[in-house]
């Protein structure tokens, strides 16, 4: 039972990361390998705001969200838009370059020191007993709830809201969408902003839960495994991908060795790519489009 809780929490975290990958992929057909670094950057904005406002959690979260969306839009207009039309590989390589650039900037600004922002938020880290001998900490509960909201809310937003419909249109066929008078660059910039926001949310959660330092980019990178297993262009695939990856990781750590757990997401991914490369809910044509 407590093992199940651990898996669900981890799956929630992976789902938040995976959603970011999918949002960007749907908009610009780029696998964003800088996602982990965007996550770290956003989390550090949060930390800085937290430190400056003497622990005002709401202010800090707001600052991080705004900062993250600006950063995402900036990355799109500054780097991804000029690279539109290049082979898909160029986009991936550009995000790798962006990632190491961001990592370097973070260390230059905030140094390599490890921080524990949990000290600012006090009771959130306390475990709550939900059944006899089964605990979940406040922050973990928040992660799970938030992931569930995002998994339901984002597809709903894309279905119903006008801007969501525009986003879907651009994802489906950018040329036709542009013909219809949709400003695809605004829409794409919004997608990048939204994805960076998701990354930042994940980063804030991770820094409140575990630690904050430039080295946690690796955590964010691992999120592409659930996105791919679910299907890069599928929002609902993320949930199941996240559960599979989380289960593989947690069970490997529990029953084999913690060292194996590091490779577990990627091992599962390799097997998944071999059996069903387009992902569980992904569209098959997606393979041919690139």
């Amino acid at each position: 039972m407590s093992l199940l809780i651990v898996i669900v929490i981890q799956a929630g975290f992976y789902a938040l990361l995976g959603l970011g990958y999918v949002l960007i992929y749907r908009a610009t057909r780029v696998l964003n390998l800088a996602h982990g670094d965007l996550m770290v950057f956003g989390a550090f904005i949060f930390y800085q705001a937290l430190a400056n406002s003497n622990g005002g959690l709401a202010t800090a979260v707001l600052a991080a969200c705004v900062g993250a969306m600006l950063l995402g839009a900036l990355v799109y207009t500054g780097i991804m838009r000029p690279l539109a039309g290049y082979p898909v590989a160029v986009g991936v390589l550009a995000t790798i370059a962006l990632g190491i650039g961001l990592r370097s900037i973070v260390t230059l600004i905030w140094s390599g020191q490890t921080r524990y922002p949990s000290e600012y938020v006090g009771q959130l880290g306390r475990p709550i007993e939900i059944a006899a001998g089964v605990f979940i900490s406040g922050i973990d509960a928040v992660i799970v709830v938030f992931a569930a909201l995002a998994l339901v809310g984002i597809p709903l937003l894309l279905q119903r809201a006008a801007i969501g419909v525009d986003m879907r249109g651009v994802a489906e066929n950018a040329l036709l969408a542009a013909q219809r008078g949709i400003n695809i660059h605004v829409i794409n910039a919004l997608s990048w902003a939204a994805a960076t926001l998701m990354a930042t949310v994940a980063g804030v959660f991770f820094s409140l839960k575990v630690r904050l330092g430039p080295d946690i980019w690796y955590v964010g990178l691992a999120g592409f495994a659930p996105a791919l297993i679910g299907g890069m262009d599928s929002l609902r695939g993320v949930a199941i991908g996240a559960v599979i990856v989380a289960a593989a990781e947690v069970l490997a750590a529990r029953y084999i060795a913690p060292q194996i757990a590091l490779a577990a997401p990627f091992l599962v991914l390799l097997i998944a790519l071999w059996i069903r490369p387009w992902g569980i809910y992904g569209t098959r044509e997606e393979l041919e489009r690139i």
């Binding site: 020191q113 880290g125 900490s137 839960k209 630690r211 080295d215 946690i216 990781e249 529990r254």
Partner: protein
Amino acid sequence: MLRSTQITVVAVAALGAAGLCTAPAGAQTAYKIGISGAATGPASPSYLPHIEGIRTYLRQLNDKGGINGAKVDVVFVDDKAAPSEAASNAKRLMDDEQVLAVGLMSLSSTYAPMFQAATRTKTPVLLLGQAVCPANAAGSQMNPFVFCGGSTSDPNTAGYWQVPLVKALSEKQGDQLKLALVAADIPISRQGIDFMEQLAKQLNVQLVDKQALPMGAADVSGAASRIVASGATYVTSWSPVTTAVQMLGALRRQGWNGWYIHNHSAEAEDTLRQLKDPKLVMSPEYAFTVEKLPVFAEIEAAAKKYGVTVPVDTMVLGWASGMMLEAALKQCGPSCVREKLVDVLNSLDVQTAGIYPDAIKWSRGDHTRPASFTAYAWDQKTQAVKRITEWSRVKGELAKVKVLD
């Protein structure tokens, strides 16, 4: 014909001039020292502050006029805590830069290539900052060029302190002792908990789990759930601090309420202050800044003067390392060479203004640092870090631990 002769003359002259420029001058113009450390990479949080500490110490030393009238010229290189980088750093510092000595401030995985090069080039290597002393730093198996000046004694000495400490804390609390051992997945850390396992058996302590966590693991909830399931009441780790903090966090989130005893590292004091967990114990071999030694004010002033941003309590060990280096170079005199420096180090006796309670004393057959241990924890009443045991000198046998009230 004339032309080619002219060219030859010019070439020979140029080569001669170049030779003159690089020829060693008679008197010491500067003491050239190399520092190889984990400035970047996953282990850097535990090592970079020390590097900043020694850098600041040497800067103020040079500003005061240096040693014996000569400046200390330090070549800093990053090894990313990777053995291959350490190997190329060793080549660069010892062969090319021809440094007098190398200070190593990195993970134990970088030792093998560095020690190999030290033996080959007869260059002394000082383990500084929190670099762990290898198990064979004394006796017939020792490397004559490796000197332990870091804050972490060899895995056996550490075990002789840490296992009795756990037992003493448990006796004080009067609860049942079920111990789990946690290491980082690096050689010396695993060696450390292997020895603790032996000692635990010797002391009739019940061991319920033992595991090694990879450096830079994203989430250790799975590993933590294994410890919770094993029913451990005490967990002890001997590893870089990130491993401990991550494991403790994961355990706490799963409702585990036992004691966590960690050795220490650059961020140990800062970590106690940030986490405010009353059942987290750090057991260092040096004084935390809560001891209010005069030297800490000195460090703070220097940090302010040179604009160093890392917290003062994390720079302490780098500072002590600088003091060791200064004493050795001073004794080595104005025309210091490697051979002479090794001789000096073999009889060095230096105090570090109380940062280490004992003097650092090396002899030809023993390059370990005399070590006294203590333990600190967060005190909820006073909302401050507090020492919880008396200092205890540890050498080759189980320590006597006296827990304070």
